[in-house]
Amino acid sequence: MSYLLTTLTKKKEIDTIIRDTIDKVLVLRFGRAMDALCLQLDDILAKSSRDVSKFADVALVDIDSEDVQVYVKYFDITLIPSTVFFFNAHHMKMDSGTADHTKWVGAFHRKQDFIDVVEAIYRGAMKGKLIVNCPLPPERIPKYQLLYKDV
């Protein structure tokens, strides 16, 4: 768990942060503080949060709280850590060559990767696109298997 980033445990908090972040990308990480991969991701997020602070806000969401389960279901979060991007309360999708475009699953290899991803999202959002292409080469994108309806 990062002490630099705000951790949200309630739906209301998530709602307010989504609604109040205007003209900035909102990065919501869904995960557990004790998970190893989540910790890795949190580390990168914390270090780069200041660099992207002009066009992005970062927040962490603890998926273990009951209040947040609604969002876990709504966003179809099955693997952690999952990062969801918002812009002006609209969800931004990113096509990174994986099965799931609605979120980023896994951690980032480098700080720069994260910054590139957020920048791509911001540029697309400012142009009015709801889905953007991932600027990272495929080797740096974490791979995973997505289950379809628990199959």
Binding site: K11, K12, D15, T16, I18, R19, D20, I22, D23, V70, K73, Y74, F75, D76, F86, F87, N88, A89, H90, H91, M92, K93, A99, D100, H101, T102, G124, A125, M126, K127, G128, K129, L130, L146, Y148, K149
Partner: protein
């Protein structure tokens, strides 16, 4: 008839088309004659020159130029013109316009009412069939002349001729005239009206002659009484698109008479008020404006003027009373407010009472209100300007420097820098309006500003709010995905209840085993 040659497709399409084109070139006249509906099939072998002359002859059969009243243009199409679509369109429009005017006439045919002489000059009808103007001068009933005209034989004759010439359809004759039966009914109704009105009149003179000859006071009085009856009757019977005769006189002469008679009681109060309000030389103009406004006497305008008066009184404060002009002390200001307000209240109450007692007509209340308002408004302006003049040390006319030049140069530079920075900021602030969620952002910004300023704690988003999210396996729009989610949410409790039921675990029994069990029994 020249038939099209069906060439074998040996050389492809191009050859065929080329050949066909050449074919066309060689015999243009014959091909053309086969394509067009040939009025003279026997002429197919004649040389083209004759055909051209035939066409010329057809064209030569022009008719003289004629003017079409409906299309409002000259044409040389003769009898054919009335069948052209443009003409039929114009005709339908023409007829509909006339019908609109006729509906009013028909209304008065069914419900005859007396015609006031002042309004008579306004009622004119142009009969499109007879090309004549029908006015209502000298008619005692509304649209009397028009009704008589529409029922006359001349009009019918003209109407038939018009329909024959311009092709409206002869079945439409009855739509544009009044039958003998209708006019007979109308006449009986008029007679009954006259007989009703006669005993209430008071004068020995008969109504028709009275109405036509004099426009003096007796007539007005009678009309007033009759109008009260008739208008009530009409109010009960008819509803919409009726021009109701005015309840009150709007003639300036009449209104001024009423004013003099009814306003005398208010005179004393008026004097009090005018003394408190300083008299402006523009009073004359304000009253003139008021007279113009008399035309619109309605309840709403009275209320508006009353409200305006009230607001003005409340807002005037220190500037209405001559005692507190230029004086800054609060006590006097308060007093002035109170006195002015109280005066206006008294005035309003007085007017209202008088109006309710019917001694004061609407027409006179409004000009008085407006006059007060106008004078008060004018006063406001003068007072403020004088106040400012006294305060300012100098102005443009006295040649004093403007206040911003009094600062040092450093301040000037700062000002410039600020201007530059604001310009930059404003440039950046022009975010792309097409960006994602632009509308939401604008809306939210407004909300947040409101919250900051007004301290209005707007109700936080309801607990069921969800952001715009496109689900992983969605196929339709994002709204659909949300609907799906809501649906699933509703389903959940059912799912939970089902899962709570204890599941019986049974060993798997295959068909073979069943068969094995069954066989020995058999």
């Amino acid at each position: 008839m020249i038939k099209r040659c069906i060439l074998p497709r040996l050389y492809g399409v191009k050859y065929e088309t080329l050949f066909f084109r050449m074919f066309l070139k060689i015999l243009p006249g014959k091909i053309k004659s086969s394509v067009k509906p040939n009025p003279n099939p026997n002429n197919e072998l004649t040389p083209p020159i004759n055909q051209k002359s035939m066409k010329k002859k057809n064209k030569k059969q022009k008719s003289e130029f004629d003017f079409c009243k409906v299309c409002n243009r000259n044409h040389d199409e003769g009898q054919r013109h009335k069948y052209f679509p443009s003409h039929t369109n114009s005709l339908s429009k023409f007829f509909s316009r006339f019908q609109n005017k006729l509906t009013e006439v028909r209304f008065f045919l069914k419900n005859p009412s007396f015609l006031r002489l002042e309004l008579a000059s306004r009622n004119r009808l142009w009969c499109i069939f007879c090309d004549c103007d029908i006015d209502e001068l000298g008619s005692s009933f509304a649209c009397q002349n028009a009704i008589n005209h529409l029922a006359s034989g001349d009009h019918l004759k003209n109407l038939k001729h018009f329909l024959w010439k311009y092709g409206g359809g002869m079945d439409r004759v009855d739509a544009f005239r009044i039958s003998q039966a209708d006019i007979a009914k109308w006449e009986t109704k008029c007679k009954s009206l006259k007989s009703e009105a006669a005993p209430c009149g008071g004068t020995s003179q008969g109504f028709p002659s009275g109405l036509s000859n004099d426009i003096h006071k007796e007539l007005d009085y009678e009309n007033l009484n009759n109008y009260e009856k008739n208008t009530l009757h009409h109010l009960n019977s008819n509803i919409s698109n009726v021009v109701m005769p005015l309840q009150q006189h709007t003639n300036e002469y009449q209104v001024s008479r009423l004013e003099h008679s009814g306003v005398a009681n208010v005179g004393s109060n008026m004097h009090v008020i005018t003394s408190t309000l300083s008299v402006d030389p523009c009073d004359g103009t304000s009253l003139w404006n008021a007279n113009n406004l008399m035309e619109s006497d309605s309840y709403s305008s009275l209320m508006v003027s009353v409200v305006f008066l009230y607001l003005l009184a409340y807002g005037n404060g220190a500037v209405n009373d001559s005692n507190c002009s230029g004086d800054v002390s609060h006590n006097k200001k308060g007093k002035c407010k109170m006195t002015c307000l109280s005066h206006c209240f008294i005035l309003m109450i007085v007017f209202w009472n008088l109006y309710m007692d019917n001694t004061l007509s609407l027409g006179s209340v409004i000009p008085i209100c407006v006059a007060i308002v106008a004078t008060a408004g004018l006063q406001n302006i003068t007072q403020i300007s004088s106040f400012l003049l006294r305060e300012a040390g100098g102005n443009v006319h006295s040649g004093a420097p403007p206040p911003w030049f009094e600062e040092t140069q450093g301040d000037q530079l700062n000002v410039q820098l600020n201007q530059v920075s604001t310009l930059n900021k404003s440039g950046k602030l022009k975010l792309n309006p097409k960006r994602v969620g632009a509308a939401w952002a604008e809306k939210r910004k407004m909300e947040m500003e409101m919250e900051k300023r007004g301290g209005i704690v707007k109700s936080d988003c309801d607990p069921n709010w969800l952001p715009n999210f496109g689900r992983v396996w969605q196929s339709g729009s994002r709204k659909e995905s949300r609907k799906e989610f809501e649906f699933e949410k509703q389903k959940q409790p059912n799912v939970h209840s089902l899962s709570e039921m204890p599941m019986e675990i049974k060993p798997y029994v295959s068909k073979r085993m069943v068969a094995q069990y069954l066989v020995p029994e058999i």
